[in-house]
Symmetry: C2
Subunit: 194 residues, 2 copies
DNA sequence: ACGGTTGATGAGACCAAGTCCCATCACTTT
DNA sequence: AAAGTGATGGGACTTGGTCTCATCAACCGT
């Protein structure tokens, strides 16, 4: 495997995040990203299928971790417990470096509709992976849908808190899921007062 | 308000859906859609902001209906009951004509990643509208998130069933939400056997 | 050491989506 | 009849994205 300057992909990611933060997503061209990374447009599109994808690397890895996490849960575990296993399994991908770039990345995504679209699709992909893996365990269609949706909600909330507080993602995500589980179980009661 | 052939927008929608169904989304150009509608590319982009949007018309209307539906629920209603009100309120937009085009529209969307992205964003927008309207009623952040997510799930399931069975969307959506509510309430128990 | 293979890159043509600006035409108003 | 308004047509232009071919660094076997 030949190589010149190593880590072309990482350089592209960093260049893109920098430029998006400095000038905004829409004012940054792919050619410009490639240039700052010491590469060309051609090479950029060899590493990422489009301009957005540079901000969403490593989703395939997460999909696999989710699937394996759900599948690897104890036989006797319920749907939400299997989802919990998925969140724990996914934690290995949430490194310190990822956390460092998290806030800037989130800010850029929030600033642009195309990027929010991509983000929504990624989340839907996670939910789909959870649902499919749950169905594989014999969970009903409806229960799988619900557990997956609640799992993604917990994932999002856990991720946000992890960016703030740091620490072990698994622990944070577990707590988030537990909160969601408790709240969901008492939801159908008419709410107290305010 | 001058007009030549009326309903330019509708003609574009019909032309797009036809062409997408016949040739596939990626093999159809905006210019081609406009041509079949007896218009030009310029005019197309005056009616829709991009190639995808022609398949997602009327979302602003739904957002308003959702917000009003949640806000208009009785003071004493819980979060999920307010969500139910939103689903009922939204039903006025689900006409017979919409139902007729539904299956083809769904098939086209399912066939392409860009379109699934847009769809995911739209759904996220609905969830966001529900959540915000719930918070306006004093529902906690967590409860609002959960209720909105379950509401969207019921919406999707209700929509799918409505396309098959027809009838009043409100009734179908209500039943879907009730199923989701019951299943969610008994979810944390380890599942029975199968 | 040498030539061939491999894999990543560069270069440039090309297409379609999307933006902009200005001219035009149908219809309305005064 | 003249002026105004709103929707449309037309075409130049930018850029995201694809495709093909050439190039160059590293590796590999003899």
């Amino acid at each position: 495997m030949g190589r010149w300057e190593p880590d072309a992909r990482d350089r592209l990611v960093r260049a893109a995040l920098d430029l998006f933060s400095e000038q905004g997503y829409e004012n940054t061209g792919v050619a410009q990203i490639a240039e700052r990374a010491g590469l060309t447009k051609s090479t950029y599109f060899r590493h990422f299928r489009d301009k957005r994808e540079v901000l969403f690397g490593g989703q395939d890895e997460l999909l696999e971790l989710i699937t394996e996490g759900v599948a690897g849960a104890p036989e006797s575990a319920g749907a939400l417990t299997a989802v919990e296993a998925a969140l724990v399994a996914v934690a290995v991908a949430f490194t310190e470096e990822r956390r460092a770039n998290g806030p800037r990345r989130l800010a850029v995504i929030a600033s642009n509709d195309e990027l929010r679209e991509r983000d929504a699709l990624k989340m839907a992909g996670f939910a789909r992976a959870m649902k499919d893996a749950l169905r594989q365990r014999g969970v009903s269609e409806l229960d799988a849908d619900i557990a997956a949706e609640l799992g993604i909600l917990a994932f999002r909330r856990g991720y946000a808190r992890w960016l703030e507080t740091g620490g072990d993602f698994a622990a944070v995500a577990r707590r988030a899921l537990e909160e969601v589980r408790v709240a969901a179980a008492s939801l159908e009661r008419p709410h107290p007062s305010n």
